[in-house]
């Protein structure tokens, strides 16, 4: 059952039953009071009748006829006031004008003893009476009956009136409690709608926080909706990024695989000259090496991701010197002037990864220069941060491509980097390593003049 229906029904049932019970109580109480009052009055009157009867009658001496005559007079007098009288003596009624009642119904009243009175309410079909018996002399019982139909009638009227009122009240209370139940469960409906929206993929919802009691819940809900939205967006972005990566990767793999497959087929099938066979074999060799390069670089990427970085203090001189040694021959070959300027003593880095980072940067610089030119590495501290800068005088990066250079497989000049054997993963690896060190990498480049890459690391 819905909450608003429960609230609606509880309000309705509770208020109606409370009303019914209290009204019934009041009507009943009124009724009892009225009856009591009538009884008091009747007792008083009976007493009066008794005294005046005792004065004017001698029960033992008078004949039955005399009694009847006198009683008749009394009876007539009182019947105008709604009172009937009866006198029972010697085993029979000498007088009885309680005509509308069967004498059997008030037989019990005749057994009244001296100095007591028996009162009984007897209801016939048409009228209601209060009957009181009194022993006024030996064997003479005076019966007094007062018509109290009015009281019962007024109770019936009250009940009827209440029933009509109840129907009206049910309608009124029904409307009221329906509106109230709706009003009070309104925040729940809002929550419900919000949750449904979220589950159907619409995260742009905001619940009003105006309602005072509801503010906390609405606030929490809004916060949740925002968190869900953010998380979903993040996941979507990551999935998109991954999809781009996979697309790029499959495209990168496609070319060497096509070549290898084609050339090996050529070797198997073609009526080829020795020279053609050699060319085919060379291509198979170089293309498979390309795949291997790509593979090892991807391994580095996943290594950098999986690797628990271990930051220790390393001498800057040592780090730079190792990188210089690695590229010593290539620099000689290309006639590159290598300089360094180190004003910081130590760097707190992961040695394996940092060596990889510097090597990649120097390798990029070397690829950006034909012959001649210079590479400058400087390490220094600034505002408590370590800065590492690699600067070259190479061809530079076009300004519109600066944003994309750290994307996996991105190459500025496809044909050129294939000749130098690049897979387009170098800077992607670098940015990952820097991210693992919680640092950042800035690329500044002027096309035709050179590139400088600055890495900032927190201590």
């Amino acid at each position: 059952m819905k909450l608003w229906i429960k609230i609606f029904l509880s309000i309705l049932i509770l208020s109606l039953s409370a009303l019914t019970v209290s009204t019934a109580y009041i009507i009943n109480q009124n009724h009892i009071t009225s009856i009591n009052r009538e009884q008091e009055r009747s007792l008083g009157e009976l007493e009066l009748i008794r005294i005046s009867l005792s004065n004017s009658l001698d029960f033992s001496g008078s004949s039955t006829d005399t009694l009847t005559v006198i009683m008749d007079r009394y009876g007539e007098y009182y019947s105008n006031r709604g009172i009937s009288l009866g006198l029972y003596t010697g085993g029979e009624y000498v007088y009885n004008n309680i005509s509308s009642l069967d004498p059997d119904t008030y037989k019990a009243l005749l057994s009244v003893k001296e100095k007591e009175k028996i009162a009984q309410i007897i209801r016939s079909d048409s009228q209601d009476y209060i009957l009181i018996s009194d022993l006024i002399a030996d064997n003479a019982v005076l019966l007094y009956a007062r018509d109290i139909s009015e009281i019962y009638e007024s109770r019936s009227n009250s009940i009827r009136l209440y029933c009509i009122l109840l129907i009206l009240l049910t309608g009124f209370l029904g409307v009221f409690s329906y509106l109230y139940a709706k009003w009070i469960t309104r925040p729940l409906n809002a929550l419900h709608r919000g949750a449904m929206d979220i589950s159907s993929g619409n995260y742009d919802i905001y619940l009003s926080e105006k309602d005072k009691e509801f503010r906390d819940v609405a606030g929490a809900f809004n916060q949740m909706a925002k968190a869900v939205k953010d998380r979903t967006q993040e996941l979507e972005e990551r999935a998109k990024e991954l999809q781009v990566f996979i697309d790029d990767l499959s495209h990168e793999m496609n070319t060497p695989l096509t070549s290898i497959q084609g050339y090996s087929q050529f070797l198997l099938n073609a009526n080829a000259s020795e020279e053609q066979k050699r060319t085919a074999a060379q291509y198979i060799h170089s293309e498979s090496r390309r795949i291997k390069d790509m593979y090892s670089k991807l391994m580095v990427l996943s290594f950098a991701r999986e690797h628990n970085i271990e930051r220790k203090m390393y001498r800057c001189e040592e780090l730079v010197e190792e990188v210089r040694k690695t590229f010593h021959h290539q620099m000689l070959e290309q006639n590159i002037n290598f300089t360094k300027e180190i004003s910081a003593d130590y760097l707190k880095v992961d040695k394996t990864l940092f060596h990889m980072l510097l090597s990649n940067l120097v390798k990029n610089s070397l690829q950006a220069m034909e012959t001649g030119g210079s590479i400058h590495i400087s390490i220094y501290s600034q505002h408590g941060l370590s800065k590492i800068m690699v600067k070259d005088t190479g061809m530079g990066i076009p300004a519109d491509k600066l944003e994309q250079v750290t994307r996996p497989f991105y190459r500025i000049d496809k044909s050129r980097s294939r000749q130098t054997g690049g897979a387009g993963l170098g800077l992607s690896i670098c940015s990952k390593i820097v991210a693992l060190h919680e640092g950042n990498m800035e690329i500044h480049s002027v096309q035709g003049e050179g590139t400088s890459i600055t890495i900032t690391l927190p201590d």
């Binding site: 096509t258 087929q265 050529f266 198997l268 073609a270 009526n271």
Partner: protein, 218 residues
């Protein structure tokens, strides 16, 4: 046979195509980017162009208009394998769309289909005293008509179109007589024997050990 322009920025793939096309008797030229492709198109006359889509400079989708104006049919050769790309390529007016990595024999067969449809293939094959007119289905040896059954002729045609490349018996069977031909590979051997005898090509239709047959023309 046709003169074909190969536009692909991957030198290894471009060279591979050149080597294969040369084998089967086509001639070709290479261009490695959009600009070079347009220069070559203006300078020479081509029967067909194999066009990559992702090219430095102008891409393959942009280039096709120039080829259509020059009346050179285009076959796209691309690693872009999605349906939208293929539909776009064909809608732009390409004769065919081949996805990389491709099979050499398939490439040759599709090139042949396009050349034949455009009527741009050279149809006379001459080698070692034998002349085959691929249009008239006529085979002459020493200027005498050689009487070949239609099955033998179709097999000879398959060998000529893939000359210098070895074909397995299954490949020969399906290229010559169609995929639904329900003969056995033994039938291929039988017909090869008859062709060798009728054309006196014992040394020219070579048996490639554990593979199949090859028509050697060098």
């Amino acid at each position: 046979m046709g003169h074909i322009l190969i536009v692909d920025d991957e030198k290894s793939i471009s060279d591979l195509i050149v080597m294969n096309l040369t084998m089967v008797g086509h001639t070709s030229e290479q261009a490695f980017d959009g600009r070079e492709a347009l220069e070559k198109l203006r300078a020479g006359h081509f029967d067909l162009c194999l066009l990559d889509i992702m090219l430095p400079g102008k891409d393959g989708f942009e280039l096709i208009d120039d080829f259509k104006k020059a009346n050179v049919p285009v076959i796209y050769l691309s690693a872009k394998s999605s349906l939208t790309d293929r539909v776009k390529g064909l809608n732009l007016g390409a004769e065919d769309y081949i996805i990389k990595p491709f099979e050499t024999l398939e490439l040759i067969a599709r090139i042949d289909v396009v050349l034949r449809r455009e009527g741009k293939n050279k149809n006379i094959f001459t080698h070692n005293k034998v002349t085959v007119d691929l249009n008239k289905h006529l085979v002459l040896k020493d200027n005498q008509v050689v009487d070949l059954t239609s099955q033998e002729y179709l097999l000879l045609e398959a060998l000529i179109l893939n000359q210098n490349l070895a074909l397995t018996r299954e490949q020969l069977l399906s290229i010559a007589w169609g995929y639904d031909y329900s003969g056995e590979t033994r039938t291929v051997d039988m017909h090869i024997q008859r062709l060798r005898k009728k054309l006196e090509w014992e040394d020219i239709i070579k048996t490639v050990f554990k593979f199949g047959y090859r028509l050697e023309v060098h």
